[in-house]
Subunit: 192 residues, 2 copies
DNA sequence: CAATTCGTACAGTTTTAACTGTACATAAAT
DNA sequence: ATTTATGTACAGTTAAAACTGTACGAATTG
């Protein structure tokens, strides 16, 4: 039996629910944009976050009103960041993707990936420059000015290298999850 | 008395020194670019990093071969990130800038600034959405499907909020430097 | 073996961000 | 008070990126 007033109420409910999601999705998109991920890709992530089932590219296109190509590159982007993963489901031909639901893990993956990249990059070039400067210092007949410049540069590099050593240990403590002994995870509230 | 061969050697020394700096500056620029700072601004920072004395906008322009306007906006950029600070020197009319030499501090300022921004943004919108959904759940005659959707959304938000609580504590431990009790700073090497 | 479906490479377009030069407000120097 | 120096707002330009549509190869289906 039809009930028009209940229908109307349901519609309102859905609208509030949609708005509640939309608000959070936008915040997520804006936030992640601080770290070089475009808002579009952030919205894609946010949309998938609230989806119970894994999504196909077509569903993403439908949900965001963007081209399939963009969905494809966007999802690859998120894959590289380990924020989503590819799934498989029997009888479904299309590729399926779902978000990594654990935000601690996402945080760790996201920053450790970047930090490691930075550590490698910088440590490598710094060590090379340290080497060059050390050799230069060996020269017996350097002007005192040059010698002093080299010394200060070297000390700066030594300090920077120590910093990267520290950062590397921080990355380790995140990846091994030892960090949670120092800063424990709070227990989340649960509905009902 | 002139000594041409010594001059030549000095020149070579300077070149190696310059290359040693350049290599590191490029690495710094590339690294910071991972976090949404343009390579140009990264190079500006790197250049200032190796400068013993505070720099003026004109010196930066000279050093990087870019417009003074770019130096002005670039330096403001770095100021906001607390990576450089404005200095003053008696008798010097121009504005002077120098890098924050402590990379631990720079790391802390840089990430805590961003993280806090993200925390505020997300927690605010999430709390609002949680509120909306909780009110929705009060409704006595919800369809079971809708009720279930709301429940799962709420639980996701509760988990996310717990995560942000954790992140907030991480930020605290960085800003109070308690983190260094957990992960101590290694002692840097010193020249000579 | 067609015929169909799917995902992505690629070229072209649009949008956004970076950069420059000029012009001007502010402050210092004469 | 006038001149000179300094930093930045702003408009315009150039460079980069985000995005789209088409085309095509790989895989699947009939």
């Amino acid at each position: 039996m039809k009930n028009p007033s209940a229908d109307k109420r349901d519609q309102k409910t859905r609208k509030i629910l949609e708005q509640a999601r939309f608000r959070v999705i936008e915040a997520i998109a804006q936030n992640i944009n601080l770290y070089g991920v475009t808002p579009s890709v952030g919205r894609l992530y946010g949309t998938m976050y609230f989806q119970e089932e894994p999504m196909t590219l077509d569903q993403m296109q439908e949900a965001l009103g963007m081209s399939k190509t963009s969905m494809s590159t966007g999802v690859r982007n998120l894959l590289e960041l380990k924020m989503v993963k590819k799934t498989w489901r029997k009888g479904v031909r299309k590729d399926l993707y779902e978000v990594e639901p654990d935000w601690y893990q996402t945080f760790i993956d996201f920053f450790c990936l970047k930090w490691r990249k930075g550590i490698d990059l910088n440590v490598q070039s710094m060590k090379k420059s340290v080497d060059d400067l050390q050799k230069l210092l060996q020269q017996p007949d350097l002007s005192e000015d040059d010698r002093e410049t080299i010394r200060t540069d070297l000390n700066k590099l030594y300090e920077a290298l120590a910093y990267y050593e520290w950062l590397d240990k921080l990355v380790d403590s995140l990846e091994t999850e030892e960090i949670f002994e120092f800063i424990p995870k709070p227990i989340p509230r649960k509905v009902e």
